[in-house]
Amino acid sequence: MDQVVLNSGDTAWMLASTALVLLMTPGLAFFYGGMVRTKSVLNMMMMSMVTIGIVSVLWVIYGFELAFGYTSDSPWYGGFGLSGLGSQVNELTNNGGIYPIPVLVFAAFQLMFAIITPALISGAIADRAKFTAWAVFVAIWSTVVYFPVAHWVFAFGNKVGDTITSTGYLAGKGVQDFAGGTAVHINAGAAGLALAIVLGKRIGWRKESMRPHSLPLVMLGAGLLWFGWFGFNAGSSLAANGIAGLALMNTQVATAGAVIGWLLVEKIRNGHATSLGAASGAVSGLVAITPACAFVAPWAAVVIGFIAGILCSLAVSLKYKFGFDDSLDVVGVHLVGGVWGSLSIGLFGSSVVNSIGLDGILYGGGTALLGKQALGVGLVFAYSFIATLIIGYAIEKTIGFRVTREVEIEGIDLKEHAESAYELASSSRGGASL
């Protein structure tokens, strides 16, 4: 193990996976952008775009160090210090073991996770957040919430000889989260809930219909998310091996199960299976299988996905009951799906399927694993929710987080970005026939 040399196959898969996960954020921008009204499409997409910009730059300066550095030897964060990532070109990845892939590839792969997590939150506050305030939020939230939480969950530590130091808190406790059920989805879902509370309801919520302005755009987003998620989940093995294959298969079939689950609920409840339901079901399945994808058998993945589709389709109505305007259902899909997926390992986890996994209840492993999973779920939820409330209110009280009533009615695209998404009219100036 000491003399690990670069494995080009593993590296090839990680390079491809990194590209796939990057694509998820534009995918998310389309998924969200299609769901809002014509007057806020661009703002929705810009929240994702600027997140890519800000988080990438922070990552180089201190983010990777804060999440995956070793200097602190703390279970809560990696290390303080500026990095620049300049001297690490020929190093291999060390994360609880030496992986035969360049550390910069690992850093780039993990960067994509750091990007999509805050981008996910934006769905909760569609149509009403000041763009500058959002940018400030992303910078603070990534620093205070995501980077540390990523350390808790994903930092398996610095291995020197037989000693491993700097292991993250949840990783050290044996909480299983293969690709980010806690660090990404519960984290984003809890933050989305907090921000929806901080910003309050949109004007006209529950009274006006706020129909998705373009379902084909939603479907495009869902398609790109699904595609990119293979990198997210199967890439999390950090190798092109059997575990990656398992994660890939499970990602596919859980998502399929969730599509069916969500559509069945709709068919029974509303009499119609909708395309928004299919897209939403897909995302809920992808979310739920994320933590579990390398720990369960494919048949169990189908079941996890199917249940996720049912649970999330029921959960999206909760906001009307509790009266918070989680506009695009970050809570209903990512929080609920993430919680279910994380806990499901406690049921379906199997050490036969993955030798580094543990047996869940159904495989005779008892409730021990479920308990650990509940710890991960609870800790990440609580920290993210509280920290986000504080950050959110702080921004609201200082520079203001919510746009004015006028901006909201006239349209945030026009007022915040001085643009209109579409100019399709054939008689628009300069168009049409002689």
Partner: protein, 112 residues
């Protein structure tokens, strides 16, 4: 001269257009509209929330005609547009004081 305005079901437009041409009317202007009336709208479902959309797609047809053709033109439109089901639409006639053809500046019935 008269302006005949008709609100019609969109899928009837081609038939009405053909009927008008058969009746010797060779010009008209069409635009999109949405109607509200006895005809019910429809229900749409988004993530389980049901919305009633009470505006129904319609087309709006405008035909300028000479006084003498007004009544017969209305009849042609009504006949071609009717399906007998609710929501077939309305046709109405308003007086027009002057018509000009932009290209030539011709005025009155010649301009139609």
């Amino acid at each position: 001269m008269k302006l005949i305005t008709a609100i019609l079901k969109p899928f009837k437009l081609d038939e009405v257009k053909d009927a008008l041409q058969a009746a010797g009317i060779n010009g008209m202007t069409v635009s999109e509209a949405s109607g509200f009336g006895r005809q019910r709208g429809h229900t749409e479902v988004y993530r389980g929330a049901e919305y009633t959309v009470d505006l129904v797609p319609k087309v709006r047809l405008e035909v300028l005609v000479d006084d003498k053709d007004a009544a017969s033109t209305v009849d042609v439109i009504v006949k071609a547009a009717s399906t007998g089901s609710i929501g077939d639409g309305k046709v109405w006639t308003t007086p027009v004081e002057q018509v000009v053809r932009v290209r030539t500046g011709e005025r009155g019935p010649d301009a139609i």
